[in-house]
């Protein structure tokens, strides 16, 4: 209880609330700009939080995260272009609704559904994370290694268009993670005589290079489109908040089902909002008495998609807090933010820093409230941001990436690494390799290696990975995820929609 109050007092302090308010605005603005992903917004927020205490910094990033999931709805509803892949299913009904002359209703429905989706996922997070962490403390290095194998195979099988390239991408990530001193004995490896590589590739430099630089490069691929801008808002937009809130709450089953789908998928490593919104939409359509209305502007579709994608935010924090395994690139950045502050990540996080974990729970709820307030009060002003042309976004965000990378370690050599990784990331993207498995493998690689070597230091018997029940379950699950993905690819009709791998 003391830890809860301590966390609450820090999150609810005036300075944190003000920063979270601006964080929510930044998230909404960023995701509203097509081509600017939630992940990029969080990456750019990170250096700004270095000077803050850990909880304050993470709270600001959570507000960007929650705001970002909502911001994707703006261009989805008004232009039919999802601002983020997680808003893909939102375009199916919010866009027709807006075209029928109800853009305000489409946006308000999305905002309220996002709000309730985040609240429900936060409630599940509070209930599920602590017992899972207590269980996780009892796991040995065998189970941890097998869990990471499972996490990487499921990421590789869920994102992108090819399981083979997904696995190759994950193994490249693991290979990158082995550059630099080894995590157990400190022996130098693969530094090729470069001082910059001696300590290994900094995870955040890899992340910014792979996600932000390569994404920005993709944005300038078409010389014609970059110089033109399309007007977003045509006609008047009215928000009837109270009636829309009632409209959302009058569909409790759809709201709760979609949110629970979001939580469950968010908790799976690698899946995330880009899949959750499609599955939630699909389930809502199957359960509906009037499935033929879906796709024509029905509120059911908007509520399912938006509550589903927003609920993944809380769901993704469950494995991160209880196991120290990030579920998505955004969770990986949050984890890195805690590591920058010297906080050790893993199942002991909730025992050693309960105020921080409870503070994160509260920050999630507060963030969703902030997002709601910001959207309700000033949605019209935000609509302007989607008009910012790409020729302004690309160069200025590039400079922000450079500054953010330099600020991590105050090292100019990191900038050369950033460009090299950016070019590598762009090449991988152009060749249709999924990037999410690589990024997650870079952060999970040292944990996997440490646990593998620790397991064999404790007992030199490899069969323990198969004879310890929990370890066996994870390894079987890893095999099943690969088999399931192969089956999906063979049938060429995957049961889960294959998605782009950025949020």
């Amino acid at each position: 209880m003391d830890a809860f109050l301590l966390g609450a007092s820090e999150v609810l302090s005036f300075s944190t609330l003000i920063m979270m308010f601006f964080g929510a605005i930044a998230g909404i603005v960023a995701a509203a700009i097509p081509g600017f992903t939630v992940t990029m917004a969080i990456v750019l927020t990170l250096p700004l939080t270095f000077a803050l205490p850990p909880l304050q910094g993470v709270s600001v990033m959570l507000s960007v995260y929650v705001g970002g999931y909502t911001g994707g709805l703006i261009s989805a509803a008004l232009l039919g272009i999802p601002g983020t892949p997680s808003a893909l299913a939102t375009t199916f009904d919010a866009y027709p609704m807006a075209r029928k002359g109800e853009p305000g209703r489409a946006l308000s429905l999305g905002v309220w559904a996002s709000f309730f989706g985040t609240l429900i996922s936060t409630a599940v997070l509070i209930v599920a994370a602590p017992p899972l962490a207590v269980f996780a403390v009892k796991l040995g290095p065998w189970e941890y290694f097998s869990l990471i194998v499972f996490a990487l195979t499921i990421v590789a099988s869920l994102v992108g268009h090819s399981l083979q390239r997904g696995l190759i991408s994950a193994l490249i990530g693991l290979a990158i993670a082995t550059i630099g001193t080894d995590p157990m004995m400190g022996r130098p490896r693969f530094d090729m005589g470069f001082d910059a590589l001696r300590a290994g590739l900094p995870f955040l430099v890899v992340l910014i290079g792979i996600y932000a630089i390569s994404q920005l490069a993709s944005e300038v691929e078409d010389p014609k489109s970059i110089k033109t801008g399309e007007k977003l808002v045509k006609g008047e937009i009215r928000f009837n908040n109270l009636s829309v809130m009632r409209e959302v709450l009058m569909r409790p089953i759809n709201l709760i089902r979609s949110s629970m789908i979001g939580v469950a998928i968010g908790a799976l490593p690698g899946a995330g909002g880009s899949i959750a919104n499609l599955i939630a939409y699909d389930q809502a359509k199957r359960a509906s008495k009037t499935p033929e209305d879906f796709g024509t502007g029905t509120p059911e579709g908007v509520i399912a998609s938006e509550s589903g994608n927003s609920a993944t935010a809380g769901g993704g924090l469950i494995p991160m807090i209880s196991l120290g395994i990030p579920g998505s690139a955004v969770d990986a950045i949050l984890l890195a933010a805690l590591m920058v502050h010297g906080i050790s990540i893993g199942p002991r996080l909730i025992m050693d820093n309960p105020d921080l974990v409870y503070g994160m729970f509260i920050a999630m709820a507060v963030s969703s409230l902030m997002m709601l307030l910001v959207c309700v009060v000033s949605m019209r002003a935000f609509l302007r941001v989607a008009e910012v042309p790409k020729w302004v976004i690309v160069p200025t965000v590039l400079v922000c990436c450079i500054v953010g990378t330099f600020a991590l370690n105050n090292r100019v050599s990191d900038l050369s690494l950033l460009i090299a990784i950016g070019i590598f990331g762009y090449a991988m993207k152009a060749l249709d390799y999924p990037l999410a498995p690589l990024v997650l493998a870079v952060i999970l690689g040292p944990i996997a290696e440490t646990n593998l070597r620790r397991a064999l230091m404790t007992n030199n018997d490899w069969s323990l990975f198969l004879t310890r029940p929990v370890s066996l379950i994870f390894l079987v699950a890893a095999l099943l995820s690969i088999a399931w993905a192969i089956r999906g690819f063979i049938k060429n009709k995957p049961s889960t929609p294959q998605t782009k791998d950025h949020n």
């Binding site: 693991l174 004995m185 022996r187 693969f190 490069a217 160069p395 400079v399 900038l415 460009i419 290696e449």
Partner: protein
């Protein structure tokens, strides 16, 4: 019909490009596997510092070999002679991407010598003016943005966060 054919040709070019990437990655992976074998083992543990990288590179090499075999089987032989001209077209279509990376390389190389504000000002002016529509208002906005993100950001980081961006020699 011709659209379908164009799409098929693009797919085949993509397959060849991926095949080349598999071969390049395989070469790197095999050489790193061999280097990992030379890392001395410790007497305190069963696995040495080289064991995990060897495991990773062995798996990666196996996957890449299977990917190479699969790609070679899929790609028709008549697709190879077309590939060089398709690469040239692809590169030409992405000239702005190349320009962006070139500007970034020069920018990052010059920054330690001339300092963050000047390097950023020049970098932004070049890139913004190149990418923007050629109107007076766009050029004016480019100048304002270049000043804000060079001198403005430098001031913000120094005064607010105590992070001093490179000052130059």
């Amino acid at each position: 019909m011709s659209e379908d054919r164009d799409q098929m040709l693009t797919q085949q070019a993509g397959e060849i490009a991926r095949l080349l990437s598999y071969v390049a990655l395989l070469a790197v992976s095999v050489s790193m596997f061999l280097e990992a074998r030379t890392i001395p083992t410790s007497r305190f543990e069963a696995l040495g510092a080289g064991a995990f990288p060897m495991l990773v590179h062995a798996l990666l090499s196996l996957l890449l070999i299977s990917a190479i075999i699969g790609a070679v089987r899929r790609i028709p032989t008549e697709a190879y002679p077309r590939f060089a001209s398709q690469v040239v077209q692809w590169v030409q279509a992405r000239r702005l991407v190349l320009l962006m990376f070139l500007c970034l390389l020069v920018y990052v190389t010059a920054m330690p010598m001339i300092g963050y504000p000047i390097a950023t000002l020049v970098f932004l002016l070049i890139l913004l003016v190149t990418l923007s529509p050629k109107t007076k208002s766009a050029v004016a906005l480019s100048v304002v943005l270049a000043l804000v993100f060079s001198y403005g950001l430098n001031w913000l980081f120094a005064e607010m966060f105590n992070v001093f961006l490179p000052r130059g020699r």
